[in-house]
Each structure stands twice: as C-alpha cells, then as structure tokens.
Amino acid sequence: MHQLDGPRRIRLSVFSVLVFALFLALFSRLWYLQVLAGERYGHLAEGNRLRRVVVDAPRGRILDRDGKVLVRDRAAWAVTVKPSELGDQRAAVLGRLARLLDLPRGELEERLRDYTGSPLRGIPVAEDVPRQILFYLTEHAESFPGVAPEVLTLREYPSGPVAAHVLGYVGEVSGADLKSGRFRGLKEGDLVGKAGVELSYDRQLRGRPGVRDLEVNAKGDVVRTLNSTEPVPGNDLRLTLDLGVQRTVEQSLAAGMKAARTLPDTQRGGTYPARASAAVVLDPNDGSVIAMASLPQYDPRKFVGGISRRDFAVYSNDPGKPLIARAVQSVYPPGSTWKPFTAAAALRAGMITPGSRYTCPGSYRLGNYVKRDWKASGHGSVGLVDSLRESCDVYYYNIGANFGAVERAEQDRGEKIVEQMQATARSFGFDRAPGLDLPFVAGGTVPDRAWRRQFWEDNRKEYCAGESALYKELCRYGWRWQGGDNLNIAIGQGDLQVSPLQLASAYGALANGGTVYAPRVGKEVTAPARGRRLRTVQPKVSSVVRLPPGDLTAIGDGLRAVPSAGTAVSAFQGFPLDRFPVAGKTGTADLPPKAPFAWFASYAPVGNPRYVVVVMVEEGGHGGESAAPVARTVYEKLFGLPTTGPKTGSDRSG
C-alpha cells in the first residue's frame, strides 16, 4: 500500500499546470475570435452565405427619326477569364482554353493584355461561344479556374457603322467620372455612355440594374432568395437623324474627298490632301439635325465590350483623328461662306443697301497692305447680289474698311467702340457653343478688340522671348486691333473660327427669316415596351436676328444665284434648280501652309426652305470644286432625285 511518491507527484503537478496553460491558450484565442473579432467574422459569414447577383438592365435603343434601329442591346454568351484566379496554372489553363475555343494562344493572351476595363470583372476572351463549349466549361470547371461563361449585354449596330460621332459609344465608367458626381449611384465597372448621344442621353438610356440577394450553401446551390428587385430597362431614344440621308452624307463625303485628292493644287503642287471632312444637314425650321457626319470616323463596333488597347492606340495615333466629331468639335475659318453675315452687318448698320455698288478690281489697298481678290482681273462694278454670286472679296474689304473707319472715329471721339460686324455675327449664334444635345461642342471665335488683348496677354511671354522681328513686333503691339483685322473678318479669314454646325445653324437663320435654333439630334424618349412617349425634345430658339425682311431677301437672292450662275455653277450643272432652288455660298479658307479648306453652305428650297446643308473638306481646295458637289449629292437624296454621285466642280473661287 503506497501512493505515488513525492517526485512523481511533483511531475504530475507540473503536467497539470501544462494542461492548464494549454487550456488557457484555447480560452484566450476564443476570447479574441468571438468577443474581439466576432463582428468581423460575422461579416465574413454573411459574405459566405449571401450572394448579391446584379442583373444588368438592358440599355435603351437608339432609333432614327423613322424608328429604324441604329443601336440596340443584345445578350451574348461569352467566356471570361479572371487572370488573378489563374494563379500558377495560368499557362496550362490558357492552353486548354485556347484548344477548347479553337483560338490561337497568342490571341487569348493579347485579349487579356489589351483589356482596359475594371479589374473586378472577368475579361471576355470570346463572344458568342457555342452552347456545347459552355456546357463543357461548366462541367469541367475545376480544370478551368478563373474561367467562366458569362452573359454579356453588348451594343449592336444593326444598321452598320453609321453616324458614329452622333451615336457615340459605351464604356466602363472611369474613376474620375465617379468622383465628379456625374454618374451618381454607379460603381466601378458599370457601363455608361462615353461620347455622342450615348453620353448626353445616358440617364435616359441606362436603366437601373436589378439586384437579387441569394442565400447559397457551401456547394454554391441557391437555398433561397432573400430579396430581389427587377432591373428597369433603359428608355429608347429617337433621333432627328434620317438614316438614309446620313448614309448618303457619309458616302458623298467619302467620294468627295476621294475626288478632291485628284485635283491639282496649283499653289503648292501635287494634288489636294483632303484627309478629312464634315457635313451637317439640318431643318432650318426647328434646328433638328437630319444628318451629321465627320470623316474619318471610328467604327463603334470596336468599342463593344471594351475597346482593346491596340485599337484605341490606332485611333489615337491616326493623323486623321477619327475620334473627333469635326462637325461640332472642330473650328475653322469659314472663308467666303461668311460673306452673308458681313453683308447682314453692313445692311443693319445702314452702310449699304441692296443696291449699293462697289467697284471690284483685282486687289484692295489698305495703308501699306495690298489685299488680293481671288480673281486677279476683278469683277467690275458689283452690287450685293453679284458680290455673293461671284464672291467678290473687294466688295467685302470695302465693308470691313468702312466698319474700321467708323470704329476709329468712335475711338477718336472717345466713345465706346461698337464692333457691329462682330455683334451681328454673335446674333447668328457664332462665338458661343450651340446648345446642342451632344457633348464636347466647340464655340469658335469671333475676334474683337477684347479678344485680341486677352490673346496677347496669354501669349505675351512667348512673343517677348522670341528673337524674330515679327515676335518683337507682337511683343510690343500685339494687343492692337488693326485695320487688316476688319478686312480679314469681312471675308471670313484671320482669327475667325466657326464649326460646321454653327455655320449650318446660322444659314438656317438666313433661310427662315432670322431665327437661330439651338440644333438638336434628340427627338423623343420613349418607354421601351409599348413605346409610350416620355419626353419630347422641343425646338429651342437660341437667338433672333433683327433684320428687315427685304435685306434678308436680298442676301437670299445673292445666294440663290451661286449654284445657277455663280461660283457653284459647275457643281450644280444639270440639277433641277427650277424645281428645287438651292441658295448657297462657296468658301475657300486659307490656313497657310496648309492647302485651302473647301466650304459649301446652303439651304433649299428657296421660298420654303426645309434643309440646310453645310459641307467642309479639310485641305480639299476650292469650295466650288470640292464641297459644293458633295452638297449637290445630298440634295439629290433629300429631294428624291436620281443620284449622279459627287464629281468635282471646276469653280476655283475664293
């Protein structure tokens, strides 16, 4: 009879203390997990249990004025890859996937590399994947980690790549956009309009995604739906564009540029480059845009599902700048298409009457300057109508010089200088961005004294740092308004800059008796299902030009003579002007050292004008030979005449 002896009792005690310590470790760990970090693990458990499935709302369609579908959504089964989930099996998985999809491995890698969208989303590597391949992927999910079939809603262009700049494109919302508060309630990776009406009508088109909160078990089976909201599809947008006319405009512009490239450039040698062009067709009675094109344009289909880095680089580096909507975003000197507005200013000021005549020699002298007319032999004695018909520069130099004299007199008397040419131009909508329902609209410049001084102040540093005599002159006197400035403005040259759309809307005012409408491309917003009209875009008057009707008629008479007997006569040869009288003006804007920019601005039919057509070909030569023929083709389409296809005119007027 003996119990455990002393030393062994001590060991047993040591052992008990050890066990106690181990249990204390368990206890403190549990304290940490459940009491201190319990909330965090609670969130993790919720994250396990809950799956929030976002059901994308279909984006609204974009239709032309007759309801022809230009853009719509379609659902496509795609295969997406999340590179972060590939891990160290990347090569093996991508190899397997490439074999399955029958794609070269390199293309797969390129699509992953090229992707520019949100890192949260899987990167689509193949769209419209056959059903059996999707089934295979689902059944063999364990050999394709990070790869998943996914339904993507993709923009689709049933009418082909037409009117790209008006339609714009859709892309993932950028971080900067989210911060700016422009896209409230969106999150990274959501799709929004990035340009065109996709952007300006984004809120109407977008719709609201649905959300389903699901409870899922460990296998990923859905146990029950906790709550759900259905997606609200976006509304449809009907445009004022006419698909047929738009097509014609784009085709004629392209043909016109091609034709211009065959014309000899007598001043610089070779032929005209004619790399880009723009055209606007609008209704002068309400400002609705019937067609608007800028070439070169991009293919909106390349933006579907996220544009690749490579394609984007191609567009960005293209010297033709296809991403720019020239019709609204670019500004140019309008050349002689400006003359009606100079005439309007002179008529309004009482400086001339429709009957006033100036002798029109081949040049005009102002102080030490000699300004040449485009026609060296001159036009003889001309009145207002002939000055427009023949595009006599000297007639307008006289007007510009007269305004200059009036302004100098005001200055000498110490009165406020009223710059009447500029004021009239502004009343026609120039020098401010037209209230168009498209993003990124340029306002152009109508230079005046204040502008000159501001410009000088902005650039003085550069001028004064320069060494050349010109820079030294500019450094000291660059703020001065000079007599030559008035002459330049009078013939639409110098620092004067307008966009094709501005010119079209101002010609609309010439056509309709003086009302400048804010141009618009949106017609109405309709509910997606039954087409119920939700909102009609109302015509908006932007300004009204106060001019006696007789004066406008006189200008109109001059413009009407241009296609029949003036600088556009060869372009309109054979066009039934008797049935569809066209009033227009050619323009040839000089931007040395570039080749001249060709313009034709017009409206028709005279008397009951329904269309304004403005055409501009960059470095396309003379307005009569490169721009007017394009306008003619457009009119043939608008009036339902047999199309002759744009040839080049032979008029080489200013």
């Binding site: 009879m1 009792r9 047993l12 760990r29 459940q34 458990a45 919720e46 396990n48």
Partner: protein
C-alpha cells in the same frame, strides 16, 4: 509523518487516508466512492455532442430525404453503449487489468494488425475500421485506452523510477502499436499515442535526461517523416498550409477548412447565433463538421459562452482525473489516471486548437463530442478507468 504538509496534492491524499483509517470497512466499499463530477461532466459533453451533431446534420439529411435525426440517434445509441461499457469497466477491480495487461496488449496488436488486411475498410485514405454489419469499429480508438493500461502496467514500479529495461519495453510496445497505426495510416491517432506515452513516462518518473533524448528523437522523427515520404501528400500540405496559409493558393484546399471553421466560430460572437441557427453550420460551409470539426457548431451556435462552457466541462474531467491520480492507492492507478488525463487533454487541445487556428489540421476527434461510436465508447471506457481508480482507493 512530518509536520510539513507539502504540496496541495499531498494534503488532499493524506486527508483522505487519515480519514479512511478511522472509518469502518463498509465505508471503504467502492460504490460509496463514485466520482459524480467526472461522470456528469462527461455525460454533459456527450449530450452537447449529440445536440451539435443534430444541428450539423439535419439540413443535409433533410435534403437527401433521410430522417433528420439519423446521426444524432446513432450517437445516442453509442452513448448508451459507452455508459454500459463504463459500468462494466468499473465493476472489475482495476488491479486485475494490470495482470491482464499482456493479454490486452496482445489483443490490441492483433486487432490493429488485422485491420490492415482485407478484413479492414478504408475511409479518407486510412484503412482503419472493421465493418460488422451496421456497426463500425475503429480499433485504434479502443487501443488508445488499452495502451494506457499497458503502459501503466509496464511503468508501475516500487523503485523511485523505472529502470532502462522497463523504459525499453514501454518504448518497444508503443513503437509496435504505432507502427501498425502508421500503416493505416492515421497520423492523428499516432500523435495521441506519442503524447500519452510521453506524459506517462513523465509522471512515471523516467529520468528527465532520457525524456529530453526521447523528445529530441521524436523531433528528428517528425522531420524524417517529412523527408522520407512516410506522410501522404495531403498530410504534408495540411501542415505546410498551417505554417504558411498563403501557400495554399485559391483557398479551396486545407486552409479552406481552417478558414471556414474560424469564420463559424468567430461569427458566433459572445452568445452565439442560437441553436440550429448557425448559417455556416446549416449551409454546410464547414467540411467534416460532425466529426473532427464538431466544436465549430458549439462555437457558432452557442458562442463564446457555449465554447467556454465546453472547455470548463473538459476542465472538470481533467481536474478530477488529476485528483484521482493523486489520491490513487497505488502507482498503477495513478499512472492509469494520468494516462487518461493526458489522452483527453491532448485530444481536446489539438482538436479545439485546429478549429480555432492555433494547431494544424489532424484527424483527431474531440472526445465525447465528435460523431463516432468507437471514439465515444472508448472515451467512456476511459472514464470508467478513472472511476475505477477513484472508487477503489481505500481498498486494502
């Protein structure tokens, strides 16, 4: 007897003996000295286990169209068998077990050997059990208890410490059994054997420097097992995943288990989500939950309060076990009690530890609580041993 009272444990046992010497023989009758605390604590743990097993399994059973209480009922039946086994173990004077130790050992070696033949069946890559009709017997669970008796018998000596011969026999016997278990292979159970051996050598009085050498050899052995491909790939991965969780890319493997267990327990918070209301449990996010990860049910549904309650119940069993070892009438009884305490303590610590991320994942069940008849019954047999030693501490 000296006036110095020595340690607390000395006092407890002396008091008992002094009291006993003045009592009549009838007072010494074993049935008068049952330890209700250890029985109640063990029973409480087992019932908590049945409840947790029900919670863990009812949803998936319902999904499969089976009776929701299938597993809970089986466990309850095993509990009945365990209690019966405990009573049987208690009835026979434990000193007779010392005499039968050789036979016990023989039976263990035989059964553990036979399970490796086609007589045995395989689950989870280990050939570890016999299928007898609807019964499943896992001999290694019973062998744990048997080994405690065998080692106690070997190490029981009147000398102050066992000599090298006894030590050698103890090591040899354990090595033989461990070898058989390694062939299944069942790494977790092997660890239990090693831990029990070590504790019993410690309490048995083996010289400290030998223990140190053994610990060293054991350490080298673990490293060796890594190097020599004795471990299966999944076992190595589990251990490396424990040391370096980020190496387990994708979270689908072993850290998935560990992570889901952590989430279940952590999300239980202070008071738990309520019985049968654990989301991790109901939606089956924790793999192997009813067996090795049963603690996660308690942690999630009953929270910190429930988890600590469970630890306290284990604490009660262990405290009583240590006390029984101290007041045992002979070293054999003390060693048996110490062995049982070592087994429960090690298994509880490793099992709970792995669910809360402080131990690697090994297939060691939580005594009394985890689903599994053999484990439950063997645990109650071990309780029976404790009771036995306690009851007979006054017998001549």
């Amino acid at each position: 007897m000296q006036e110095s009272w020595g340690t607390y444990s000395d006092r407890v046992s002396r008091l008992g003996w002094e009291a006993a010497s003045e009592r009549p023989m009838a007072w010494r009758a074993p049935w008068r000295h049952l330890d209700p605390v250890v029985v109640l604590a063990a029973l409480g743990l087992a019932l908590l286990g049945v409840a947790a097993i029900y919670s863990s399994t009812f949803a998936s059973l319902r999904e499969q169209g089976l009776a929701e209480a299938t597993f809970a009922r089986r466990q309850l039946i095993s509990l009945g068998a365990g209690l019966a086994g405990m009573v049987v173990v208690t009835l026979i004077d434990y000193r007779r077990y010392q005499a039968y130790a050789v036979m016990v050992f023989g039976a263990m070696v035989l059964l553990l050997g036979a399970v490796l033949t086609p007589l045995g069946t395989t689950t989870h890559g280990a050939q570890s059990w016999y299928g007898l009709g609807p019964l499943r017997v896992q001999p290694s669970e019973y062998a744990k208890v048997g080994m405690i008796v065998v080692l106690a018998a070997i190490l029981d000596t009147r000398a102050e410490r066992p000599g090298p011969r006894r030590l050698g026999v103890a090591l040899g016997a354990t090595a033989l059994v461990c070898g058989e278990i390694l062939l299944q292979p069942d790494f977790g159970t092997l660890m239990v054997f090693v831990a029990v051996l070590f504790c019993m050598l410690l309490v048995g009085g083996v010289q400290l420097r030998w223990l140190l050498v053994l610990a060293l050899v054991g350490g080298i052995g673990v490293v060796g097992m890594f190097k020599l491909d004795v471990l299966k790939e999944y076992q190595k991965q589990r251990l490396t995943a424990f040391v370096n969780p980020s190496a387990d890319a994708g979270g689908r493997g072993y850290t998935y288990n560990a992570r889901q267990a952590l989430i279940a327990i952590g999300s239980g918070g202070v008071t738990g989500k309520g019985y049968l209301k654990g989301t991790q449990t109901n939606l089956q996010y924790v793999p192997e939950q009813r067996t090795d990860f049963i603690f996660t049910v308690v942690g999630e549904e009953l929270g910190f309060a429930g988890a600590v309650g469970l630890l306290l119940a284990f604490g009660a069993v262990l405290w009583r076990g240590v006390r029984i070892a101290l007041i045992a009438r002979d070293p054999f009884g003390a060693l048996v009690a110490a062995g049982v305490v070592a087994m429960f303590a090690f298994q509880a610590f490793v099992n709970v530890g792995m669910t809360i991320g402080i131990m690697p994942i090994t297939g060691i069940p939580l005594p009394f609580v985890s689903y599994g008849g053999s484990s439950l019954i063997a645990s109650f047999l071990a309780v029976g041993l404790l009771l036995n030693v306690h009851m007979r501490r006054y017998l001549q």
